[in-house]
Symmetry: C2
Subunit: 698 residues, 2 copies
Amino acid sequence: MADIHAPAGTTPLDRLLRPRSIALIGATERSIWSVSAHDNLKRFGFTGNIHLVNPKGGIIHGQEAARSIAEIGERVDAALIMVPEAGLLEIIDELGAAGVAGAVVLSSGFAEAGAAGAARQAEMTRRARQAGLRLIGPNCLGFASYLDNTAIWTTPLRRPMPGARLAIVSQSGALAGQMEQFAYQQRIGLTHLVSTGNEADLNVADIINHLAGQAAVRAIAVFLETVRDPAGFLAAVATARAAGKPVVVLKVGASAAAAKAAQAHTGSLVGNDAVFNAVCARHGIIRAYSMEELILTADLAAHLGPMPPGGLALAAMSGGLCEIALDNAETLGVMLPGLDTATMAALAPVLPEFAVPGNPLDLTGGAMLKPESITAALPVLAADPRVAALAFVFDVPLKEDARGAARKFIRHVAEGFKQTSKPCLLISHSFGTVSAEGRALVEEYGITYCAGGISLGLKALAPLLRAAPPPAPALPAAAATARPSGERAVLAYLAARGVPVVPQHLATCTTDATAAAQKLGGGLALKIASPDIAHKTEAGGVALNIAPEDAASAYEALLARVRAARPEAEIEGVIISPMRGGGTEIFVGTLNDPQWGPAISVGLGGIWVEALKDTSLRLLPVSATEAREMLEELRGKALLEGFRGAPPVDRAALAAAIAAIGNAALALGPRLVSLEINPLLATAEGVEALDALTVWED
Amino acid sequence: MADIHAPAGTTPLDRLLRPRSIALIGATERSIWSVSAHDNLKRFGFTGNIHLVNPKGGIIHGQEAARSIAEIGERVDAALIMVPEAGLLEIIDELGAAGVAGAVVLSSGFAEAGAAGAARQAEMTRRARQAGLRLIGPNCLGFASYLDNTAIWTTPLRRPMPGARLAIVSQSGALAGQMEQFAYQQRIGLTHLVSTGNEADLNVADIINHLAGQAAVRAIAVFLETVRDPAGFLAAVATARAAGKPVVVLKVGASAAAAKAAQAHTGSLVGNDAVFNAVCARHGIIRAYSMEELILTADLAAHLGPMPPGGLALAAMSGGLCEIALDNAETLGVMLPGLDTATMAALAPVLPEFAVPGNPLDLTGGAMLKPESITAALPVLAADPRVAALAFVFDVPLKEDARGAARKFIRHVAEGFKQTSKPCLLISHSFGTVSAEGRALVEEYGITYCAGGISLGLKALAPLLRAAPPPAPALPAAAATARPSGERAVLAYLAARGVPVVPQHLATCTTDATAAAQKLGGGLALKIASPDIAHKTEAGGVALNIAPEDAASAYEALLARVRAARPEAEIEGVIISPMRGGGTEIFVGTLNDPQWGPAISVGLGGIWVEALKDTSLRLLPVSATEAREMLEELRGKALLEGFRGAPPVDRAALAAAIAAIGNAALALGPRLVSLEINPLLATAEGVEALDALTVWED
């Protein structure tokens, strides 16, 4: 018994995920879970020891079962717990006592099933921690490490495939099974399949961290319902990216309705989708919106590796296909750049009769009869300076003819691909499955193949052609000690933080008002200064276009109106500012997402933001360069670019102000709910914050 | 020889497309086209006579070849012409002389290859008409009528499948081949596959008309690069729809770049995509944006038949899948309505443990163990009054287990489907191919199956759940005889056609101006009336906010400015109108598309239209109901709905005015290029056209 408690050579997590011996607790012929789990181990060719535990003992799945965990008599790394919930806690204690490193908990009826279930889950987790046992689940299907011929998985899995590069992690067990099915039909080899379920102990971040350390893993596909540990998740993603393993995520909850359903389903908090988009953009997480896109994008990332951003050259042997590709590329934001004249000139002599140089390049049916034209044309396309990657549209044949005539054809494509160092891929004409023979053929020639068809293929490729996110700018140096509140204080704070603000004078008597008005000159705006009045117009607290000589009377009239409307309000005075006209009003607002932290939203002011929801969102801090990109994302951006003969606004000054506002918000610390500048007036000469407010947590 | 010239029992088109004897002209073992065409006829089990013609005679494809067409000695219905272009015209004459009904012309190098090719094509067409010969092509692959075991097709085709319902028509031969391949992998049986190529004689409209008369055809999938005969095309679509055969179209040219590529490729005019969208909306053409969507949507339409518009109930055995479905449905505009309380109450007792009533309905993995819960739940979902159609997510198994355990499961689904008369379908979890066994299984149970997966499946289904277009409103009764031009005349014309317009007085002297101003009262707008001045502001021809007492001096100042700026302009006088303020400015403009005729565009005025391109487009005429729908499509529609506390504008009056403007434009006849009202001012009290102009063809 001594060696059962021998110290592990690796961490408990490694022992759980790469076990040398496995125990199936609650094994029985009558359970399809037990049968499947045992079958999977046999099918995978697991080389370690398999132990079965059933209180009744006897022969199960063709081998002698132990009556208890203690009876196993050998060191066990990982256990699959298939016992009813009633006996679960005891089993956990016993596994801990026996020195088992970790367990998969299959059962449902925990946190996903209401408060009582959540309490049961908390108790289970407590007992596991006490026992030193790592847990996967509950409410999961388990995990498979194809690299190690290991599976603790409770529905039938296919055997490991050669050339595996892709790991799948899913919070939903059923989805994991569906993704395995889809990957199999595409003959995409998996390194791992992990279902994390309710994540009572180990969560997606732990799994991603583990996968980041496995050399054979080249990309990680993740299905998320929620992120339980945002900081841990981002750290794991960063670790994986640093190890050259891109992370592609399908996260549900893009729709308001889905957010509700996920809550009912898993008791999870589904974060705000726009914020999660910003998280992905900042942290280089590639986002997919269907299961197929998730797997195909991750597979392309696994094969193509890190790609320079830029344009795609695409060649096909049909004009119709080229036109579909053009339409789809435009919708997807994939750039098919025009070729330069040298490329056009170099293409012309190598193309089949009737084919015309261009991008996309229609090689016409003539290339079927003259496949050497493909070999010649592909490197010429790739050499164009505007081309970052190269795609050729052709089907790897189905089983029956994988070794036939098409083989010669694929060879011509491969020879063309070999003459360029830029990333190349083959995309099928239409969506199809891939035979083992077809996959072997492209592997033999070292060709990256996507069988998603031209439309889904371009969709899967699109995110890989986009630029990687810039490193996050440095956090602003000094935290603010004050908590500015109210227009005047907030504008003063912003001014101190480098944001241009409109001049303001606080008048507390008519003499003040007249003096300020004469100093400012021109048309004036008068606004009530009161910590109690957020909506100044409604309280009669605004007077516009006041001439300096009318300032005193306007001051008195304004105060009289406000005192009548809001007799209880504390009044500090009246703010006098110069009127501003022309220019474009910009809205800038920050928010503090409970999961992902501070973010900033920019939009065109007034009706644009309110009626059109035309905004761009980023996590904070943002650099001026990122702020400039935010402006580019606005549908109404034409208004900034010199619309209707107006001069373009000073976008550099605007971007700098947005970045400074973001930093000003960050410096106010986590209790700031929101800092809103509305409007930030942008003109050709610069920008100026005209009004601002803060909202605090308490 | 007599019977060669015997009158055909059917039209030449019928004889060509449903031939009883076929001649392959230019047959030779050395041509892969000839070999493929002959093989296809054998593989299809063509029961008529096959004749081969080669000037050298001899044994070709295992049978004796005739040396000339005249030598065949039997009535021939259809010919495949595979001779070089040099001998083509002679062959056409000979085919005509021999009484052949029609021919497929394979060769390329015609209209798609420049002006000389176009001339060759025109001459060929002339000769064919003279000879009484119908043509398919040139630059095509031919056609296959699976129903008649007939193929004149020059690349290898798969044999006919049972249960065929779907016809494919494509202007691109290569695309037709790819669609056949995709349909085969989905085990979707085809009734016809027609490649129309350059359409020198027969075009897509002729083929659709023919297909509309074939009982077995249940839907028609069309790939279009251009529409050569818009009126004929719409008539054919109407004929097909009347025969219960929906038409689904994938038309390239959605992107500006694709329009350019198609022009290079086929010498075709690719119409304006927004107009084609309006054409589809008006004429009940279902539009697809990828090859896969085209085939899957058409196949669903073929199986589900006409559907009532409305919401979808969706059930699956995974919460994750339900959440993906929700997200995708929201993006695609598929409504998943909430269930009413009676449905919720009726569902609760039949669901597996832990499953919660809702839509989408997550039956959980528990339904695997309790499949009778599916049978029970499906009709309850379907009975909900808000549900128009029902989808269940499950995979028809692959070949190896199509007859195994899953069979029982599919039977439970089928039994559930049978208890409702609403349309039901099965959607696969993820995109996959379908085995013959899998297809046979669903056919046996009468289940409509889409293997596109949840994301593409919902996309394919989405257009079928939308309401059919309303019948086009009646054309306006009376055509106008005048050709109004200039603001004043156009506004007067609009007023006569029932469009509310702002009051106007044409002043030709200061006395006039003063009289009009006093009559109108309030603030006034003065505008130059000149047929030569389109841009009044630039010419100094506008004065706003004029008080009645200042009307005479403003009149003189305005005239002086205009005479200085545009001394050559003919001046009719000065239009005096009341100033309008508030409300929302609407832009309404008509256009006359060269292919599709008059259409109307509506948008929010000013920057909304110009910077945001926020417009909705319909073919004319439009009813007030349709005009209302156009307003609903505007992104900025919140501005009409009582934005920021303003009262909502009178949308009924606005819609009526838009319909009246459309009718007014139609009444002006085909030489009207555009009638533009900008702005049409909409307020809570009604609408008023403030300015308008016409553009005429010459």
